[in-house]
């Protein structure tokens, strides 16, 4: 059975001790106590019109478009390299991003990007509160989308409440079934689009339907379909309130000067119903109509002040502005404002807004530093890396004429998109001859072809005449040059020669 709650009904007497959330009050009533957990009170957010709602529609459109279109952008890369602009190729262990490509060894760029995102989130939160939660978080976007679908099938708030309270009928059945089917289609397209980021999109799409896409494609499509359907369809605000860590962390970013969705109680209180043509003297502008609560997708009362469940989306401001226009009072009773400004006005001063404060300066500074380091790292990136492993078994080999031979494995990575010939130079004991299998012995540099965007292990043997050695472990180094850069790696040349004084 679904309990329908009218949040707007006034409860007398109990709220003498100060403002109590209508939603809370109703929750308390709907919960008879006992049991292991509290039943979720269904929330029926009413459609609202206004500035913030328009921005939210626009953000939904842009973010969804980015999500669905990105994997279909083609990007011409040479040879057999994939032509998908953004591709996380787990099988090939590469991350392609337009003209950049990253190897697993360069995962610090991804770490840097995450640090950068975190700092940006800190800065935005300190300045403007939880804008991310209200406008850009996938949970918010998809929940909004699912509520939109729900509204198409079941109508707005009041119609939905009536439908839920009504006994089962054909009308109720087709509306409910239709809604869930469309939800499932949306959820499936969400999960389906996800896999395009990990495989060549035009290849995996037909393969998916023909049943021979990789198993991971099906698993992740199913997983994302499931989570989208459950999170955005059924759990909605509970994900933010109970599962997401960010509402807890944000407390550390916010302070009195952070702009947040605020009920300006300096202007609104004392609240109460207002009859047309009655005086506004001696009372606040809040007519206690409850519109701010009715439209809230989180089911909270913004008039209780800043709270964990508030995602700062601004829908209550839109709803309140509409009412204020109707009753002929200035808009902005609920608006983005700071605690400090409200307190100032309560105490009779003009509100002071401080965007520049130590906290925001530190965040902005850290953001700039990390951004600069990332930029430097990206522009100074070399496209070669070399690892030298000296053979340990045997450490050295004595040849028939008493010369000593050391074996090395050079792991040369060519991270550029062009195949190149690596020039391998050995510097060490005098008279060293360097060779690699299937090539002639030489005193000069070796050449080894390294294919574009691959690495290759090159076996290198260095032979030094016995009388040129004056110690058991002599310093040596390899310098490898590819068109993408040069790298020098220190190693040693080992023999059983005695140390010379």
């Amino acid at each position: 059975m679904v309990v329908v709650i009218d949040r707007t009904r006034k409860v007398s007497g109990e709220n003498a001790a100060g403002p109590v959330s209508v939603a809370d009050r109703v929750r308390r009533q709907s919960d008879p106590g006992g049991g292991l957990y509290r039943r979720r009170t269904p929330i029926y957010p009413k459609l609202v019109h206004g500035r913030w709602r328009r921005i939210k529609w626009a953000m939904m459109f842009v973010t969804l478009a980015v999500y669905y279109i990105t994997p279909w952008i083609r990007w011409d890369r040479p040879g057999i390299l994939p032509d998908q602009a953004v591709l996380i190729d787990f099988a090939g262990r590469r991350f392609y991003l337009f003209d950049l490509q990253f190897w697993p060894q360069e995962v610090y760029f991804v770490t840097g990007l995450l640090v950068l995102s975190a700092l940006a989130l800190f800065l935005v939160s300190a300045l403007f509160g939880r804008l991310w939660c209200g406008y850009a978080c996938p949970q918010t976007i998809w929940t909004d989308l699912f509520i939109y679908v729900e509204r198409l099938f079941e109508g707005d708030r009041n119609a939905r409440m009536r439908l839920d309270a009504a006994p089962w009928s054909f009308d109720k059945l087709w509306r409910k079934v239709g809604k869930h089917l469309v939800w499932l289609v949306v959820a499936f397209s969400t999960g389906g689009a996800w896999i395009f980021y990990f495989h060549d999109a035009p290849t995996v799409l037909p393969a998916f339907w023909q049943g021979h896409a990789p198993a991971t494609a099906y698993i992740f499509c199913a997983l994302l379909t499931f989570t989208t359907y459950v999170f955005a369809g059924g759990m909605r605000e509970q994900v933010c309130i109970y599962m997401c860590p960010w509402p807890r962390i944000q407390g550390g970013m916010l302070d009195n000067h952070s702009l947040q969705m605020t009920y300006r109680h300096d202007r609104g209180e004392p609240r109460g119903p207002h009859k047309k043509d009655a005086t506004w003297e001696g009372r606040g502008d809040c007519i206690d109509c409850g519109q701010c609560v009715i439209v809230c997708p989180m089911g909270i009362d913004i008039r209780d002040g800043s709270q964990l469940a508030c995602i700062n989306c601004g829908l209550c401001a839109d709803a309140c502005d509409e009412v204020m226009v109707r009753v002929g009072r200035p808009t902005g009773l609920v608006a983005y404002d700071t605690d400090s400004a409200v307190t100032d006005r309560v105490e009779g001063r003009a509100g002071v807004y401080r965007l520049i404060r130590p906290r925001t300066l530190v965040y902005a500074g850290a953001l700039a530093v990390v951004g600069a380091v990332m930029l430097w790292g990206l522009t100074h990136r070399t496209f070669i890396s070399v690892h030298v492993l000296r053979d340990r078994n045997p450490t050295f080999v004595r040849l028939h004429d008493g010369a000593i031979r050391n074996g090395y494995t050079l792991k040369i990575s060519n991270r550029s998109f062009t195949t190149g010939s690596a020039r391998i130079v050995f510097e060490g004991p005098k008279g060293a001859h360097i060779e690699t299998p299937a090539a002639a012995e030489t005193t000069g540099p070796l050449q080894a072809i390294i294919e574009a965007n691959t690495d290759r292990a090159v076996r290198v043997f260095v032979t030094v005449p016995g009388d040129a050695l004056h110690g058991p472990r002599l310093p040596a180094r390899f310098t490898v040059t590819l068109p993408g850069g040069t790298e020098t790696v220190a190693t040693s040349f080992v023999s059983d020669a005695e140390d010379e004084e």
């Binding site: 053979d391 078994n393 045997p394 080999v397 004595r398 040849l399 028939h400 004429d401 008493g402 031979r405 074996g407 060779e435 299998p437 299937a438 012995e441 080894a448 072809i449 294919e451 290759r456 292990a457 076996r459 043997f461 032979t463």
Partner: protein, 288 residues
């Protein structure tokens, strides 16, 4: 009414069992435990049907999945051949020189070769391939039977003094053991061989041994002691000694005429594996 006390016999009763005054309370099992227990029973029945379970007089019930560990091994090996597919086939058709020159094939052959070497060759030649006294060092540039890719491949195929009819085989006589030469002449020959490798030796003994060497050794080792790979005769003038460089080592070898045995691998390893092994050994040895 208050909750029944799970530890009070008056509340929950006992099973009637008593040991030395200790009575067993009759508490119900935890529900979750009971359900897990039932689930296990259901699972067990399913397992009997699906998997090999009951012994019969002549065998056992196979189960509808027909699973067997031996069958699993067979299919795993088939999978392995399938996975190796492309490179394995290329290995079969490419010449040894082609394998060594193609970076991709070479990398594959080296990986296969290293693994096969560890399984089959390391017992005698060592994991590093450096051999030991009586076992050839495969890392240096001294080759009794030739160090080219083809020579190495052939040696692996037929072995040395093995039971393969084409085996590489020469027998050095045990000059002392078989009483071909008297002990004094063997002492002199030892000095002669030491002198051959450029070390200090008793000049008089070398003088005495010269005709003996000419009469007995040059057939295989050559007039100047440079050896002969066709006959598997080692070069006596270099610094490499299969049975050791010391005088007693050399004397022992002339006396006993030892010769190691290497099995023929044709029957145990397929041709692609032997190719890979040849490439691996050649790639890690000093040039020939």
């Amino acid at each position: 009414m208050s909750e029944p006390d799970a530890n009070d016999p008056k509340d929950v009763g006992t099973t009637g069992h008593e040991w030395d005054g200790i009575r067993e309370l009759d508490n119900p099992l935890p529900r979750w435990w009971l359900y897990v227990f039932y689930a296990c029973i259901v699972f067990a029945i399913g397992y009997w049907v699906a998997m090999p379970a009951w012994p019969t007089l002549t065998g056992y019930t196979k189960g509808i999945l027909h699973r067997s560990d031996r069958g699993q091994v067979v299919s795993d090996l088939q999978d392995l051949n399938r996975i190796r597919g492309a490179e394995g086939r290329m290995l079969r058709n490419a010449s040894l020189q082609q394998i060594e020159a193609d970076p991709r094939l070479q990398a594959y052959a080296l990986a296969v070769g290293q693994s096969v070497f560890g399984d089959n060759c390391a017992t005698c030649h060592g994991t590093g391939g450096t051999g030991g006294k009586g076992y050839a060092n495969l890392r240096d540039d001294v080759w009794l039977w030739g160090g080219t890719l083809q020579d190495i491949q052939h040696t692996i195929q037929v072995g040395v003094r093995s039971d393969n009819p084409q085996a590489r085989s020469t027998i050095m006589p045990g000059f002392g053991k078989d009483q071909i030469l008297p002990a004094t002449q063997i002492d002199d020959l030892t000095e002669y061989v030491v002198a051959l490798s450029g070390r200090k030796a008793d000049a008089a003994a070398v003088q005495r041994a010269t005709p003996i060497f000419q009469a007995n050794c040059v057939v295989c080792h050559g007039a100047t002691g440079l050896g002969d790979q066709v006959k598997g005769a080692p070069n006596l003038t270099d610094k490499e000694w299969l049975y050791g460089p010391a005088r007693e080592d050399i004397r022992g070898q002339i006396w006993n005429g030892r010769g190691g045995v290497m099995p023929t691998w044709q029957a145990r390893l397929d041709p692609e594996t032997i190719k890979a092994l040849a490439v691996y050994v050649h790639a890690n040895a000093a040039g020939k």
